[in-house]
């Protein structure tokens, strides 16, 4: 499981960074989205990976802390996702404004040589 998560983060982050460095604004926004997915998965895995464990305490279950998933990273990821959404939407608006004003989708507002 650790390997799968690590690979997923690595692939998402790597492709995200590659796209981020491309000259088209659409590629940049895709890159930012992929990087933020990678970051969200990363935060999630910082709460330690475990299977079949709830983050909510129940009286019927065992009282060992180790039997529960860490709820904090889950809450953090939720916040990060919401903020990431808002920022992506805002970036999209600026991207469209730039396209409209400059007539090109190059990040510098004009075609490079």
């Amino acid at each position: 499981m650790e390997v799968i998560i690590a690979l997923a983060i690595g692939v998402l982050g790597g492709s995200g960074i590659w796209l981020l460095l491309r000259p088209r604004t659409f590629q940049v926004i895709m890159g930012i989205s992929l990087v933020s997915y990678a970051v969200n998965l990363f935060i999630f895995s910082m709460g330690r990976l475990s299977l079949d464990q709830t983050p909510i305490l129940r009286s019927s279950r065992a009282s060992e802390v180790a039997d529960y998933a860490d709820p904090l990273p889950q809450a953090l990821v939720l916040t990060a996702i919401v903020i990431g959404f808002a920022m992506t939407a805002l970036f999209l608006v600026v991207l469209l404004a730039s396209r409209g004003l400059s007539g090109t989708d190059h990040v510098d507002g004009r075609e490079g040589e």
Partner: protein
């Protein structure tokens, strides 16, 4: 134990702008005059609260006061903490905001919708970032202030701003991702997000996890250095600041200081004496980065032809000076750096505002403004007759406009370059003496070799010299070369903030002794964070002993 109204004062700088911004959003897109009044009242209230908090932090019974939001005890809930550094930054924010706001009332606040709401949200984010004692909460406030700053940077629209905004947003989104990775690593290794709690736990981290903490701190550091405009992460800064409308740029000159504030706070809190093996590992890096930034800013200043870009490089010089001073890790140098921070921020804010007035009589600047106003269907006469008594199209003009501009320009140049007699000189003098005379001080961790002190000394002097050269060049071109051009007509409301910031610089110079006393106390508390940790961790809940054991 019940809280009196006095204890709730600490949350006001966050809640008030939030409520006012919400109210202004409900008012729709018009009614700029009513919004302007609300905005000014709110900002004045923020200034009053900030000054009250400053007094409380300086002379109050506790060194560090904490406010437990939602009444959870410190490591579990989100706490706000107020010490001298936070209080200083709050006052500085309110002063800069008031100046930028008054200036914008002359015309800029009508160049786009929602200026006032964004302005208040920006203040909320800034105040929150200065007050919070929680790493993730810091991220949230950073996002709030950044989101508002995207809007303010684009305020007025136009191709130049949209292009600069695109780069600015992309850089900051990546910075935010790094921020999150850093916070997650620190949480993974220490199991806490409360700054004071992390400071305690960081010394107890298992040796196998130490690398995680240090990697987390380094990644976090990269995010903050980007925001502070440190080389090589600052190529976004001069174009964005030059493109922003002057009131927004004046407020932005404070934004780089947020990055610096966090670096100062966290490097001394998390990697001070308590940190065990990790202690002091960031200082050296901050010093090198600061020196590089200072060099870059100096070269950039010499190379820039346009006043807006020049001001951007002045911001970078200011950041570089601050970072390298903090990298020394000495109490007295930090105190001098804080004095420099206040003095240079005021001068930079005034300079950003002044810069537009100087450009005003040039045709290029006038064209740009005309296009912007036209885009929003407000040509100048329409904009002015709406709320003015409407006799002249420029309102109350002050006499001797050129003389005023020239004098303010000279004052800003003196402060920025650190020449006597204004506050910039006091700040640079304090920096240079404390760098060279560490007498009577307890040796601090990670003090760099004396050679680096000489390098910093040389760089500071050279950067001052190049500032003089560049500003003189700009000044000659703006004031002496043009012959027979029309006197620019300035309104009182545009002139007042600039004059007030310059006068504050003079007050800071006259009152240098009490100010330095205050900053020395601030720096001492920062370098010995036990009080901070105790203040945050030992604050009792309201009705303690009851609900949450």
């Amino acid at each position: 134990m019940m809280l009196s109204w006095h204890d709730h004062l600490m949350i006001v700088p966050i809640v008030l702008p939030m409520l006012v911004a919400g109210l202004m959003l409900l008012m729709g897109e018009g009614r700029a005059s009513a919004k302007a009044v609300l905005n000014v009242v709110s900002t004045l209230a923020l200034l009053a609260v900030a000054i009250a908090l400053l007094r409380q932090a300086d002379t109050g019974p506790v060194q560090v006061a904490a406010y437990l939001a939602a009444n959870w005890p410190a490591p579990f809930g989100i706490a706000l903490a107020l010490d001298r550094l936070s209080a200083t930054m709050l006052v500085l924010t309110a002063v800069m905001a008031l100046g930028a706001l008054l200036y914008s009332l002359a015309r800029w606040h009508r160049a786009g919708v929602h200026f006032h709401s964004l302005f208040q949200l920006q203040l909320m984010g800034l105040n929150g970032a200065f007050l919070t004692a929680d790493l993730f909460n810091l991220f949230v406030f950073f996002e709030i202030l950044l989101a508002a700053s995207y809007g303010l940077l684009l305020h007025g629209s136009g191709p130049q701003r949209v292009k600069a905004g695109l780069h600015y947003i992309a850089v900051n989104l990546v910075g935010s991702s790094l921020f999150l990775v850093g916070v997650a690593l620190i949480y993974g290794a220490t199991g806490s997000l409360n700054m004071a709690d992390v400071a305690v736990r960081i010394g107890q981290v298992a040796p196998s996890d130490r690398m995680l903490v240090e990697a987390g701190a380094a990644i976090l550091g990269v995010a903050f250095l980007t925001k502070a405009g440190a080389w090589p992460l600052n190529f976004w800064l001069p174009p964005s600041y030059a493109a922003a409308s002057p009131p927004a740029a004046a407020l932005f000159s404070l934004m780089t200081k947020v990055g610096f504030y966090v670096i100062l706070r966290l490097s001394l809190l998390l990697f001070g004496d308590r940190a065990g093996e990790s202690s002091g590992f960031v200082q050296q890096w901050i010093l090198y980065v600061g020196l590089a930034t200072l060099t870059f800013g100096t070269l950039g200043m010499l190379a820039s032809q346009n006043t807006g870009r020049l001001a951007g490089f002045a911001v970078i010089i200011s950041s570089g000076t601050l970072l390298s001073a903090v990298g020394f890790g000495r109490v007295s140098v930090t105190a001098a750096a804080l004095f420099y921070l206040v003095s240079s921020t005021l001068a930079l804010g005034a300079f950003f505002l002044l810069q537009e007035l100087m450009e005003r009589s040039r045709t290029f600047g006038a064209d740009l403004l005309a296009v912007t106003l036209e885009a929003f269907g407000l040509d100048r006469s329409a904009a002015d007759t709406e709320d003015d008594t409407g006799t002249a199209d420029i309102g109350v003009a002050i006499p001797a406009a050129m003389a005023f501009l020239g004098l303010s320009f000279i004052a800003c140049a003196l402060v920025l370059s650190g020449l006597p007699p204004l506050s910039g000189f006091v700040a640079k003098f304090a920096l240079l003496t404390t760098i060279l005379n560490p007498d009577g001080l307890t040796p601090e961790i990670g003090s760099p070799e004396p050679a680096l002190a000489w390098v910093l000394l040389a760089l500071l002097v050279v950067s001052g010299l190049t500032t003089v050269v560049s500003l003189t060049r700009i000044g000659i071109r703006a004031f002496w070369v043009p012959s027979g051009r029309a006197q620019p007509r300035l309104r009182v409301i545009e002139v007042f903030p600039i004059a007030a910031m310059v006068v504050l610089g003079i007050v800071l110079m006259v009152q240098a002794q009490p100010a330095m006393r205050y900053f020395n106390d601030t720096a001492r508390a920062l370098h010995h964070p036990d009080d901070y940790v105790r203040g945050v961790m030992s604050t009792r809940q309201v009705g303690a002993g009851g609900a949450h054991p």
